[in-house]
Structures are given as C-alpha cells and as structure tokens.
Amino acid sequence: MRHLGILALAGFILLPLVQAILLSFMATLPTPAQGSIGLMNYRGVLEDPELRAAMVNSLVYVVLNVVLCITFGLPAAYALARYRFTGDRHFLLVILVFRVTPPVVLSLPIFILFSQFGLVNSPVGIALVHCLFNLPVAVWVLESFIRAVPREFDETAYLDGHSGPSFFFRHLIPQIAPGIGVAAFFCFIFSWVEVVFARILTVTGGKPITMAIQAMFSFQTDIGKVMAMTCLSLVPGVAMIWFVRNHLARGFTLRA
C-alpha cells in the first residue's frame, strides 16, 4: 500500500520529464512523428552561440543572487537568532511581505528604475531583483541554523579573540555550512527558473535560459531542440538537489 503510493507519485512526477527527455532525442521538424533518434538536438543547442550565452547569463545571475542573499542575509539572520531589538518583529513582517509580493505587481516600476541605473539587459539586474523574494528565504533558513548553534559557541569564539568578520568567517560559517547550502538551494530554485522579472529585464540582450527558450518558439518550433535546451538547463538544478539532499529536511517556517 505504502509502496504503491510512492510508485504512483514517482509516475506522476517523472512522466512529463520522461516525455521531455524522449522528445529531446528526436528529430521533430516538421512534426514530432517517427523521426530519427540521436543527439542532433543537443549538438544543435551547444553549437548555437546565443544559447551558450544564455547558459552563461543564467549561471552568472544565479550565482550572484545567491552570493548577495547570503552576504546580506547572514548578518540579519545572526541578529535575529541572537538578539532581541526594537522592531525585530516588524522586520520579520517586512521580509515576509516582500517574499510574497507578486513579481508581476512590481515588474513595471522595476523596469523603469533599473533602466535608469543601466541594469536592463544585464544579469546583474536580475540578480538584484531576485533578492526581493530570496533574501527573506535566506534569512529564515540561516536564522534557524544559527539558532541551533548554542550561544556558548559564540562566547568561546569571542574569548579566543575572534569578533566581527573573523568570527563570521572562521567560526560561524564553517559551523552552519549545511545551512548555507540549504539557503543557496532555496535561492537557486526560486531564481533559476523565474520568468516574470527575467522577461521584463532582458529586452534585447543578457537573456537567461528561460528567455532564450521562449525565443525558440516561433511559427515552426523545433520542439526537440527546445526540449534539449530545457533538459540541459535541468542539470545544475539536479546537481543542486543532489548536493543538499541530506539537509533538505530542514526547510523553513513562518517567522512572525
């Protein structure tokens, strides 16, 4: 009974992926009929300079976004885990509100604001704007991990003469390394696949994978090539899931 449930779940989750992987190995022009099978779609993707650039753009903005979220989120998480301060609950409320603000609500002013700073068509703009929903998640995840470290740990480090940045880098970060991995994982999954901000911020260039795929749809779409590109885009995500697999069970909760 239990195993049947898991089997049904596996079928439900894997079926669309199997279909996509099958299509990615088929010649699908003019129609995805009984075409020949092979690696031509993957070759086509890798030989296309625009698609290669899109992969680089995506990697650049995601890495930058994760770095920004951890750098700005870690001190805030530490403050929340270790101290009470005037307005701490208001701060939690503010980050919650920004986490759930629908991107489509902010897309227009973000575009106008970022075009004044020259951040349109660049991965930097996307990395910045994705902090809107990822920084709160990073704060929640890191806070729960720091909370799990006993206070005495901090005090010992201070007695050893470590304070400020050297405490963070030498002591805290190694201690909560899994937490940083989990925070990076959640930032990654919300950012890598996002489309609303990515679309509005890349008009002519700097397109990430999602938008490059979008651009492959035309009057006569080579769906096999689209699927090949999509399957390649899954690789970093799957790798990410693999790296944090033993820490996935930490998640985050509503902090209010």
Partner: protein, 297 residues
C-alpha cells in the same frame, strides 16, 4: 546524522536572547537591499496608480478613477472569483496531498531522501517550460498520455472545466515538492519520544497526527499556505501558455488581465490594478501573521 544535521526542535530560547539595539547594524544591509528592489518600486507602482501615463514625460493625475473603474467592472469581479477559486482548489489539493506524502516518506527513515529529491525535481524546471512539458505529454498524436486522454474525451482546449483540471494538475506537479519538503522538514523535527508516548497511550494514528504532529508543523504549514496562496492566486505562466484564459474566458485569472493592460500600454490602469492585487495579498498575509502570533502567544 550527527551534530548540526540532526533536526533540532526549536527550543524556547527566546527568553535567553538579550535586548540589544546594536543588532540593527546587522539588519540594515538586508533592509537597504529590500528597500531598493522592493519598497521603492512598490511606492512607484502605487503612485502610478493615481495617474494616467502616456509616456514618462506625459503624466496626468486622475485620482482614484482607475480604482473605481476596476472595482466596478464585472470582469474584475469575475476574474477575482476565478482566481480565489483556483487558489482554494490548489490549497485543498496540494496541502493535504503534500502532508500525506511527507508522512509516507517519514516511514522510510533514511531512504526518504530519495523521495524528497524526486518531488523536488519539478522545482528546478524553467517555469515557462512546465506547461510545455504537459502539453507535450497530453498531445493527442505524440504524447505518452495523449491517445488515452483523447479516447476518454478529455478536451482541454474547448471544455472549460477540463482546462481547469489541466491547470490544477500542472500547478500541483510544479509545487507539490515544496509542500512535501517543508512538511517533511517540520515532521522530522518532532522528537521521536512524542510519537512513542502517543503510541503507549494507545492514541490512534489520526489523533497522534491531529494532536501531536499537526500542531508541531503549524509554522511550516503556515509558510506553505502563504507561498502556495500567492503563487496560485497570481498564476500566469501556466494559465496563459495552456489556454490564454480560454475557452471563452473560463480560465481568465486576475494576472491575465494585468498582463493585457501592460501589453496594451495602459500603465496607469495596470498600476492601479497591481496595487489592488498587492492589497489583497497583504490582507491575507496580515491574517496569517495575526493567527500565528495568537497561536504562539
């Protein structure tokens, strides 16, 4: 599993945290970043909502005209109804299903990690490709499920409630993993002693869940509810790609109207509409936070 990896129940250490307002220095960078990418655009969008915008140089004050227009239009109310219904369906299906799967996985001990990795897979698929995966799967000629679905008369293009089912299934496929991972995180953090005590007392499986596990994962479920509410309430990518609001407006959700206005360059109107959507989301967040604070005392 040892040391930091062991899920630690959130001990009530709150009383041990000293009060120190210098902590603000650690919080300020994060707040400044959110101010730049969140608060500033939000103020701008509210401001635009009171203007008629022809171009950035050509802006006229119109007061609350857009707001009254939108609130009085039948289309808005119909779309609001559809979006609320869709959110309700998504939550009713996904939250219990996700908790159920998390409970199932809990029984597998260490091997549960494979289940978590499995359900997390759809989370890393580019959003705009998720509807394409499913349209490929149910394609009547070439999809794996296509011929079977066509045989039983599943017609998502022209039958309204079939489109609803399809969008709901696609949304569930996409987000079930998040519900499972967060619910599993909450459940696995409960010390085994609690469940053992319940078993000794002869508590049924259901009452052990209802009175021990459910209260303990309330915080995790609250964030799941909120995230799933806003994302399903503001569903766009899937709904638009699958049937563009059709057939005959059956799946015309709030975001599709906003998208049309932005594409039609009615920026003032779009901003007013965006402000309204934000206020709805804000109201729901507020209700949740109030409930959470009540519960935590």
């Amino acid at each position: 599993m040892c040391g930091i990896d062991t899920p630690v129940p959130s001990l009530s250490l709150t009383h041990m945290r000293p009060h120190d307002n210098r902590a603000w220095f650690l919080v300020l960078p994060a707040l400044a970043l959110l101010g730049l990418v969140g608060a500033l655009p939000l103020l701008a969008v509210i401001n635009y909502g009171f203007h008629d915008i022809f171009s950035l140089q050509d802006v006229y004050w119109v007061g609350v005209q857009w707001f009254t227009d939108i609130l009085q239009s039948d289309r808005f109310l119909a779309s609001l109804g559809r979006s609320l219904l869709f959110s309700a369906l998504a939550l009713v299906v996904q939250v219990p299903l996700g908790i159920g799967i998390a409970l199932l996985l809990l029984g597998y001990g260490k091997r549960a990690v494979w289940g978590l990795m499995l359900v997390a897979l759809p989370l890393v698929v580019p959003w705009n490709m998720i509807p394409m995966f499913w349209l490929g799967l149910i394609d009547a000629k070439t999809g794996i499920l296509g011929p079977g679905l066509a045989a039983i008369g599943f017609d998502w293009k022209f039958t309204g409630w079939h489109t609803w089912v399809l969008i709901l299934v696609v949304d569930t496929w996409h987000w079930l993993g998040l519900v499972v991972v967060l619910a599993y995180a909450g459940l696995s953090a409960i010390p085994p002693a609690y469940m053992q005590a319940a078993a000794i007392d002869g508590a049924s499986r259901w009452s052990a869940f209802r009175f021990i596990q459910l209260p303990k994962i309330a915080g995790a479920l609250a964030i799941v509810f909120l995230l799933r509410f806003v994302d399903s309430f503001m569903i766009y990518t899937e709904a638009f790609a699958i049937n563009a609001g059709g057939p005959s407006d059956a799946t015309r959700f709030l975001t599709l109207e906003l998208g049309e206005e932005i594409k039609g360059f009615s920026y003032g109107q779009a901003a007013a509409r965006a402000t309204l959507y934000f206020l709805i989301v804000l109201a729901v967040v507020w209700a949740f936070v109030a409930a959470t604070r009540e519960r935590e005392g």
